[in-house]
Amino acid sequence: MTTPAQEFLRSAATKSADLRHRQILRHSIDTYNTSAAQGQARFLDWQAARRRAQAIKWEAVNHLDKYLLQFEVRVKERGGHVFWAENGEQAQKYIVDLAAARNVRTVVKSKSMVAEEIDLTPALEHKGIKVWETDLGEFIVQLRDEPPYHIVTPAIHLSRKEIAALFKEKLGGIDTDDPEKLVAAARVALRRAFFSAEMGISGVNFLVADAGMIALTTNEGNGRLGTSLPRIHVALTGIEKVIPRLEDLAVLWPVLSTAGTGQAVTCYNTLVGGPRTKDEPDGPEEFHVVLLDNGRSELLADAEQRDVLHCIRCGACLNACPVYRSVGGHTYGTTYQGPIGSVLTPHLRGLHEFQHLSYASSLCGGCTEVCPVKIDLHHHLLHNRRNAVKAHQRSWKERIGFRLYRWTMLHPSWLALAGRLGRHAIRVTHALGLGGSALDPLRAWTKDRNPPPIPARSFRSLWKERRGAD
């Protein structure tokens, strides 16, 4: 039985050596970077926009109970249902039971990371319900029977040639790698599903408290169709997605789009507040909002890391992260990848099993710099490391190692001796051609790399000599 940490290391080693993988990700992320810079230029001051977005989310998250209740009242006034779920099982059960009670046979799903978090699709399929992912990227990874690779761009790891081969095999009647034709094929495949499904399941980008509406941001229009055509609409979300006012969207919609894709605003920014009214010609007869806690209220209790709940799931920190770009999304083995996933997952799934993700970082701070709601991501990785140490969850080897390190650093003559021995050991192993072998003290580094030449003299002796010459 391998631990998530071992699995991570193994997959990271493979992926980071896969140059084709690196090239595909680099192409996508370079394209994103160009658009994001153009998007930011539309603001008078992008930094001011980040500060405003941060202030809005701070207000909401630090008065979470008040705004959730306000939201709930308004949704109920319009005839919608609000279900509160403490954990994934409760949320999953509510939706599966609802589908069974209403004789649902087909579900059209638009993108929802929370659905991934609670394993909703397998649970529905287990009951014999057909679930169509309708976001193109999600549809592609569903055909491959794998989880999304990126929270905004699920199929970021695939070239169009691979997607073409997939469509040829799974959809049939199509043999082209022209993106237009591939999109058209997906449209045809999903069109019937939209018009025949009994239930539409969507995620939520924002829960707007004063209006009592969910806000949904998409580009393809799948979110619009899936929440309009079926007779039941279920919106699934974490409790932290609430914002106080409709007017906040004048800031948050452009900020989310800019950080997510670089667009000024995405194509469809939709607000849904309830089932169809009696004056409306169409729309679902039932509207259910499922509010999921699943560890979020515990994170809320950690005042130091509370701002992690500000996250608007734009994916900017993934794009900025040198670790994500090298190891890719699946290596994380988590619902949420990249820096936000590394910070969040130990809270959602246990510090013990997922503390290794706190080290999946160069601490360059690129994530913190791009975060549109100013989450202090790289410091939170440090906080998680500290908390893991405090909870005595590091190995005995590491504890002894650090004790030795501390002692040596406090005793200059021992430090000098350690340096001298180390240099000799490295020189000898490399002279014997054992560099990178189990006998090499620098093996962790040198098994994949050539070490720089070991200098003849130590810094300490050079310092003594040159200071002496003054």
Binding site: L44, W58, L64, L225, S228, G273, R276, E280, D293
Partner: protein
């Protein structure tokens, strides 16, 4: 379902209240910073933004020209269902479309085979070149279901920016009674294959705004 009353609700609220008893540091942020340059020349800005986001914008001077513009777009679509919001102004306009069978929104939602939909909008936004629609604009599917969506609007509906739009919407109880509102910016698109932009994913490939200037 009965389950909407359940103990989880109270548990979660209790946990939230307990969690918030420890205050988090407040980010002291000035809230009066201007985020976007003010929009002047709103019609020009709207047209420029539309050009940038692949919305076709047709300016007309009177209702006759508007009807002609709509008819011209519809002529370019394949034979088949044209769906229209059942509104008096569109009923008058449809008198020019004798060659097309019209499915009015008062008879239910558009069909799977719908070729084009024609609706009004609640507002137009210059800052982003967007149309703002609601479920009152022919229903929830009308503004997204067909390969071509034609929006008939007039100059007075144009607002400078999102801030102005939301300030209006937030205080408009009738608007907030709609089950759906949507800010639509350009035609449906995806970049999910190698970040290559493809128009016409699940929604309209063409979004045409016929904007009457009177």
């Amino acid at each position: 379902m009965e389950q909407t009353e359940n103990p989880a609700r109270e548990h979660i609220l209790q946990r939230i209240r307990k969690a918030l008893s420890a205050p988090a540091e407040h980010p002291s942020t000035p809230t009066d910073e201007r985020l976007f340059a003010p929009v002047s020349e709103i019609l020009e800005r709207f047209e420029a933004e539309c050009a940038g986001n692949h919305t076709e914008c047709v300016l007309t001077t009177d209702s006759w020209a508007t009807a002609q513009a709509v008819a011209e777009v519809l002529r370019s679509t394949p034979a088949g269902e044209v769906f229209m919001q059942d509104a008096p102004s569109l009923r008058r306009l449809a008198a020019n479309l004798a060659d097309r069978t019209i499915h009015w929104s008062s008879n239910g939602r558009p069909s799977e085979e719908v070729q084009a939909t024609v609706t009004l909008a609640e507002a137009l936004v210059a800052q982003t070149g967007s149309i703002f629609v609601s479920s009152a604009c022919g229903g929830r599917a009308a503004t997204v279901a067909a390969p071509v969506h034609v929006v008939v609007a007039n100059r007075a509906q144009l607002v400078p920016d999102l801030q102005t739009l939301f300030a209006q919407v937030s205080h408009d109880d009738n608007m907030l009674k709609n089950s759906m509102l949507c800010l639509t910016t350009g035609s449906s698109r995806t970049g999910d294959i190698e970040k290559i932009l493809v128009l016409g994913a699940h929604g309209p490939r063409r979004l045409v705004v016929v904007l009457q200037e009177e």
